[in-house]
């Protein structure tokens, strides 16, 4: 099901853990398939010096988190902002199509952590920890029903193939 790179990052995840005095924390969760991820950033001179993650999720979610931390570490904030879910999936040499959905939270968590860092820096009193409501459709422009994996229209609210309501779910 998973390729060797994915299995390697799943079996030996890099940068697992918590940074107690993190400069930015990003917590995202996918209520649909239950995956949740927290990213911790340590930033010096606008460069990500250290990054750690914790993830509740399937093999692909753990591998995505691990690969994301490898892509982000050492990058400037400006460069890290450009990391997309597709970049992470590509670095993993591909994920099963139905796993792209569960794994979209990877880059989202990083972006939320960066936003949290910037908010703190700007002196906002209540740092924003929550993810944005809808993830980007960054899996090649096509959209698939998260339940039955049939290709659907980007704005579909109902899957004709498996008769499921799709509010906010794809």
């Amino acid at each position: 099901m998973y390729n060797k790179t994915v299995m390697d990052h799943f079996r030996n995840p890099r940068n697992v853990g918590i940074i107690e005095d993190a400069d930015g924390v990003g917590e995202v969760g996918n209520p649909l398939c239950g995956d949740m991820m927290t990213i911790y950033l340590k930033i010096e001179d606008e460069i990500i010096k250290d990054i750690k993650f914790q993830t509740f999720g399937c093999g692909s979610a753990i591998a995505v988190s691990s690969m994301l931390t490898e892509l982000a570490v050492g990058k400037t904030i400006a460069a890290a902002k450009k990391i997309t879910n597709k970049d992470v999936a590509d670095a993993l040499e591909g994920l099963p199509k139905n796993k792209l959905h569960c794994s979209n939270l990877g880059a989202d968590a990083l972006q939320v952590a960066i936003k949290n860092y910037e908010d703190k820096k700007a002196g906002k009193t209540q740092p924003e920890l929550k993810r944005k409501d809808q993830h980007e459709h960054s899996h090649g422009g096509k959209c698939y029903c998260p339940y039955c994996d049939v290709e659907i229209l980007d704005n579909a609210t109902f899957c004709e193939a498996c008769h499921t309501n799709l509010k906010e779910s794809h």
Binding site: F10, L32, Q54, A61
Partner: protein, 393 residues
């Protein structure tokens, strides 16, 4: 590495006696059982002998009431759609439960799109249907009630006998999906008061690709496959004789060895449940403490996700199954686990451990030891575990 198979519900090994019988059947080069010549008659005798074996397994005294199918799913489709189509002029209402297999759910969904109406009753915290709820759901235009015998995710066994009695009094047909029960626990179609019963060969160590459907004489059921006169006009198409021979032998063995198998797997199940607390904490047992399959344990391990557990245990040479949404390909939390009150996160960490004749007590210990390590590793990665332990402090 020797693989420890604790995933018998996904695929059972085929017993050597069954394999030998099937190989012999292939070498016989059987003719078509419908042919009138001698070789055809030999084939027909072999077919009918297997039918008798299978009928005995469900205590059916008239083997003609048993139809061979290609799998449990076909049997279920045949029962539900066959009854619905044959009885459409009487009514279009069907009663079922919230925890059925997809073969039932999707057959009913198909019928719904054709104008049938469905009432689905809820279950208690162990996944048991209250027969009174079924009684209250039956209306004047109800033509069928379908409730599974044992659930494939929790192992919980339903009060089929009681439900069957109510349904029969109301003169409605009653189908039970007994795919995970037939050949595993004693099944008696008369005692259960069923009109239709679906089952398959692999759960009792026969080959996949063969199933059976019991249709009580006089029940109005249309065939799914139209064509020739095979299976007493109930299922057209040349029979899978090699598979059927295998199912027949597996049925004989299931009957003669049932007590021994139940004692063996129930012993392993008890050991697992007794010893689990000394290996891991924070879990929920989904299996009914009293009414459940002897070979199945469903456990929701909190704060971790099932697919990750399956992959890590696989590295240790242990095969188990999960009902995590991520692993099903559907990305949807199990309707069965949600129905018995698990939340989405706990449903995610649900493992299904199913024992078979090839397992030993040592397998249970190896599994528990490996599980402890995997759970520790994954909880270290999990943000939910950190939050839960912080809250408890």
């Amino acid at each position: 590495m020797t693989i420890i198979n604790l995933d018998h519900i996904s695929a059972n090994p085929i017993l050597s006696e069954v394999k030998e019988a099937m190989i012999a059947a292939i070498q016989m080069d059987y003719a078509n059982p419908s042919s009138q010549h001698t070789r055809g008659e030999q084939a027909a005798e072999t077919l009918e002998s297997a039918r008798e074996s299978v009928a005995k397994l469900i205590n059916c005294d008239n083997p003609k009431e048993v139809v061979f199918t290609s799998c449990g799913t076909e049997s279920i489709n045949h029962a539900i759609k066959g009854v619905a189509l044959a009885n459409a002029q009487k009514g279009k209402h069907i009663v079922t439960s919230n925890i059925e297999h997809n073969a039932v759910i999707r057959s009913l969904r198909r019928l719904k799109s054709m104008g049938y109406t469905i009432t689905s009753v809820s279950v208690d915290e162990h996944g048991r249907v209250n027969p009174r709820d079924i009684a209250e759901s039956i209306k004047d235009d109800t033509i069928l009630v379908s409730v599974m015998h044992s659930n494939n995710e929790t192992g919980t066994i339903q009060p089929i006998e009681e439900i069957g009695k109510i349904v029969r009094e109301k003169k409605v047909l009653f189908h039970s999906d007994a795919v995970d029960s037939v050949g595993v626990v004693p099944i008696d179609v008369h005692k259960l008061n069923v009109d239709l019963l679906s089952f398959a060969s692999n759960p009792f160590y026969g080959p996949t690709g063969v199933g059976g459907l019991y249709i009580r004489r006089g029940s109005q059921v249309w065939p799914l496959l139209d064509g020739g006169i095979q299976e007493n006009n109930k299922r057209a198409g040349a029979e899978n004789l090699v598979g059927i021979v295998g199912m027949g032998v597996a049925a004989d063995l299931a009957r003669s060895r049932m007590e021994e198998r139940i004692a063996h797997t129930a012993g392993l199940k008890k050991k697992l449940l007794d010893e689990l607390p000394s290996y891991i904490d924070e879990y929920i047992i989904n299996t009914h403490p009293e009414f459940s399959l002897p070979n199945l344990v469903s456990v929701s391990v909190r704060y971790i996700e099932g697919e990750s557990v399956v992959l890590m245990l696989d590295d240790d040479g242990i095969a188990v199954s999960t009902r995590s949404a991520c692993a099903t390909g559907s990305l949807r939390a199990s309707h069965v686990l949600l129905s018995i009150g698990r939340d989405h996160a706990d449903a995610q960490g649900t493992l299904l451990i199913t024992f078979g004749v090839d397992n030993t007590e040592a397998d249970v210990v190896t599994f528990l030891t490996a599980l402890k390590n995997v759970v520790t590793t994954l909880r270290n990665i999990s943000p939910l575990y950190k939050k839960a332990t912080n809250n408890q402090k």
